[in-house]
């Protein structure tokens, strides 16, 4: 079963709400390149994990204001989509969800401005709750992407840096991935009037899930076939990214020197050999264990929230992120 179906959240309604953000912007003509680009991007698909998490979060509060929750859910996806447009420019990725990436269609500057429009539109919408200043200040600061950018800066500064610590890797993963996921659950809960203690627990749950997910993603880069990945195995290391499996492999004295020799100048055959040695080491298992540890900690939070019927939804999310479900 798909995640949205398991959570009983109609994805079509989510998508409609996302499209409404641009459709009801009086400054954007409906036939404009901007409107068309965003509608095409939304219609090209996506799992909508972030909006789903906002809605799940709202199920922990006593008084969910449906229109506000859905608006926040759509805003979270808008922020995420804007970051993907800019990521594609940075990574020079030509394809997004089976279509040409936006910078291929509109050029780098055009795509940058579309992403900027999406972020600015969210700020405009949320700052429109002027009657609830404390509420909007919290939502805005939560959805602000400074931490996400910091994660990108960290990734950039850690390229081919084999001396980074596991703590630095985890901090980067929190900034890049886990923070927005955690925030979605928390702002959903707060918008429905949940106690601070509950919304904080949901934030911690989301953060643990996000870190676990990032670690699994980094493992998959080594374990999945190049056909399935759409890129060669070990692609992260080929691009200088020192992920958790690499950090664990560096603890093995026999592997460390060959890994440390990898740079942007290293011939492909040599990198292939290094990647094969990491694949056959125990580094992937160690990384899997740490990912599982975060899932176990997330499970403990679910156990603390048993009195809320929506704890079943957290279990669905955990199974999904833990790869125990499709």
């Amino acid at each position: 079963m798909k995640l949205d179906e398991a959570l009983n959240i109609p994805l079509r309604t989510v998508d409609k709400e996302i499209i409404n953000i641009v459709k009801f912007d009086k400054d954007v003509p409906r036939s404009s390149v901007l409107a068309k680009s965003i509608v095409d991007l939304v219609r090209s698909g996506g799992k909508r994990v972030r909006p789903l998490m906002v809605i799940v979060g709202s199920r922990f509060g006593p008084s969910p204001d449906k229109s506000k929750v859905w608006r926040l859910a759509a805003a979270a996806e808008f922020i995420h989509a804007a970051s993907l447009i800019h990521d594609d420019i940075i990574d020079d990725s030509p394809v997004r969800r089976g279509q040409s990436a936006l910078h291929v269609k509109l050029g780098v500057k055009g795509a940058l401005h579309v992403g900027n429009y999406m972020s600015a539109r969210v700020i405009e919408l949320i700052s429109g709750y002027s009657a609830e200043r404390e509420r909007y200040a919290y939502d805005l600061s939560s959805l602000a992407t400074t931490q996400l950018c910091l994660g990108e800066y960290q990734q950039l500064s850690y390229l081919y840096n084999y001396d980074i610590t596991i703590e630095q890797y985890l901090e980067k993963s929190i900034n890049k991935t886990a923070q927005l996921i955690a925030t979605c659950l928390k702002i959903g809960a707060q918008s429905a009037g949940a106690d601070e203690e509950i919304s904080d627990l949901l934030y911690t749950f989301g953060q643990k899930l996000g870190i676990s997910f990032q670690i699994r993603d980094d493992i998959l880069d080594f374990t999945q076939s190049s056909d399935k990945l759409g890129k060669p195995a070990g692609s992260d290391l080929r691009h200088g990214q020192v992920t958790l499996p690499v950090l664990y492999a560096l603890e093995d004295q026999h592997l460390a020197s060959s890994i440390r020799s990898v740079s942007s100048e290293t011939p492909i055959e040599e990198i292939d050999a290094v990647i094969a040695s990491i694949q056959s080491s125990d580094a992937l298992e160690k990384a899997e264990n740490l990912s599982q540890q975060y899932l176990n900690e997330a499970q403990e939070i679910i156990d603390q929230l048993q009195e809320y019927p929506a704890h079943h939804d957290l279990q669905i999310l955990l199974n999904y992120f833990g790869g125990r479900d499709s």
Partner: protein
């Protein structure tokens, strides 16, 4: 006077930015002085003048970084990231310094600047005009409150 304000705002903003970004506030005086000139025309406390100019500089530099996005590799990456960070950071500064009205006023203007850029008719001068309108409105409200 305005040069002093310019340097104070740069110093303030540099202190607020995360060192991890490595962002250098390399604006020219001509990019900022029109806003500094505008601010000193209003009766604002000096620390607020510096704060407002810092917010303006963050947005202006975001615009400049993204307008010079060309080529590829690390240069392009840094230009994109710096712009993204600064567009997000100005929001945080507004919230941190409780400039809620300013944030609500600027959000649609920054959005419209992006729309115009996509349409191929950039209108970055909207930013300064938007600030001018904000300061005028705030001044009018302040006088009206005092009169009452």
């Amino acid at each position: 006077m305005n040069i002093k304000l310019f340097h104070e705002a740069i110093h303030l903003l540099q202190g607020e930015l995360s060192p991890e970004t490595g962002i250098i506030l390399d604006l020219k005086e001509e990019d900022v002085l029109p806003m500094a000139d505008l601010l000193v025309r209003y009766d604002l406390p000096s620390d607020r003048q510096s704060r407002l100019l810092s917010i303006y500089i963050a947005i202006k530099l975001a615009l400049l970084r993204h307008s010079s996005c060309e080529g590829s590799g690390e240069y392009l990456t840094r230009q994109v990231l710096d712009g993204d960070y600064l567009y997000s950071f100005y929001v945080q500064l507004c919230l941190q310094w409780e400039e809620y009205e300013l944030l609500s006023h600027l959000a649609p203007i920054i959005k419209q600047i992006q729309i115009k850029a996509i349409e191929g008719t950039p209108e970055e001068e909207r930013l300064l005009k938007g600030w001018e309108l904000f300061l005028q409105l705030e001044n009018t409200h302040s006088r009206a409150s005092q009169a009452i």
